[in-house]
Subunit: 148 residues, 2 copies
């Protein structure tokens, strides 16, 4: 796991980080979807089996949230995070119950704030790949405010 | 509430829809954040009060998911949804416990599939405004596959 960042200024363009992996379990897939994305292919095993995906798939919102929670829990941005303003999220392939997803990050853009010298904006691309076959299932370009 | 869509072909560019409102309650803000975005300004009332936001704010991922769940529950896309592939999400202002958020949608782009004549891609912009003051707190450009 990466060491906790102490400042926006420790980041460099093109820098890459490895966050290990997390697993998407059926019970949590169903629980998340019942609250936030109650569509049959996320919540109903029989309907999902008969539908276009051939079985339950995770809500993309869940994969996004689980990946973000995993990264926050590593403590990487704990000392520097001032919140985020934007995410561009893509789900190139479905995530199924039991899938283990490896997460990595790459620093894409660094913009020191002009108006507030104590912070900067970092654009970081997070990529989630299914460990079993290497297929990319999640691609997030996140915009973070970070302390300097 | 909008009538349930029967086909991608019922949508027209520039069409607007009103989805009423939903409320972000403290207990759920804390619960979501503890699972998916455990940063002090989302999870710890005392730390949040002393921090840059002056109190608990909802995880942007939570506002995004709650808005999406609200729309799914209206049944609008129940007959036509084949899932989504991308969202561009912006959080222009923080959401605080008790905030009621009004949701509307606007059809921005419609692309009938060339390879699969039974479906089309719709790009729809969802806007969430705090009812108390009209401030936009959520802006999602979603990409959906819809049945024809």
């Amino acid at each position: 796991m990466p060491e906790p960042l102490r400042s926006f200024d420790e980041l460099a363009l093109g820098q890459e980080f490895d966050f290990g992996s997390f697993r998407m379990e059926l019970a949590e897939i169903l629980d998340f979807a019942r609250r936030y994305d109650p569509q049959p292919f996320h919540t109903d095993e029989a309907a999902a089996k008969a539908g276009i995906f051939g079985g339950i798939i995770a809500s993309g919102l869940h994969t996004q949230a689980a990946a973000f929670g995993h990264i926050i829990r590593t403590g990487w941005v704990e000392r520097v995070s001032l919140g985020g303003t934007e995410q561009v999220v893509r789900w190139p392939a479905p995530v199924r119950p039991g899938d283990e997803i490896a997460l990595s990050a790459r620093v894409e853009e660094l913009i020191p704030s002009r108006s507030k010298p104590d912070r900067g904006v970092a654009r970081i691309r997070y990529t989630g790949r299914r460990v079993a076959d290497g297929v990319t299932v999640l691609d997030i370009l996140g915009t973070h405010f970070l302390k300097r």
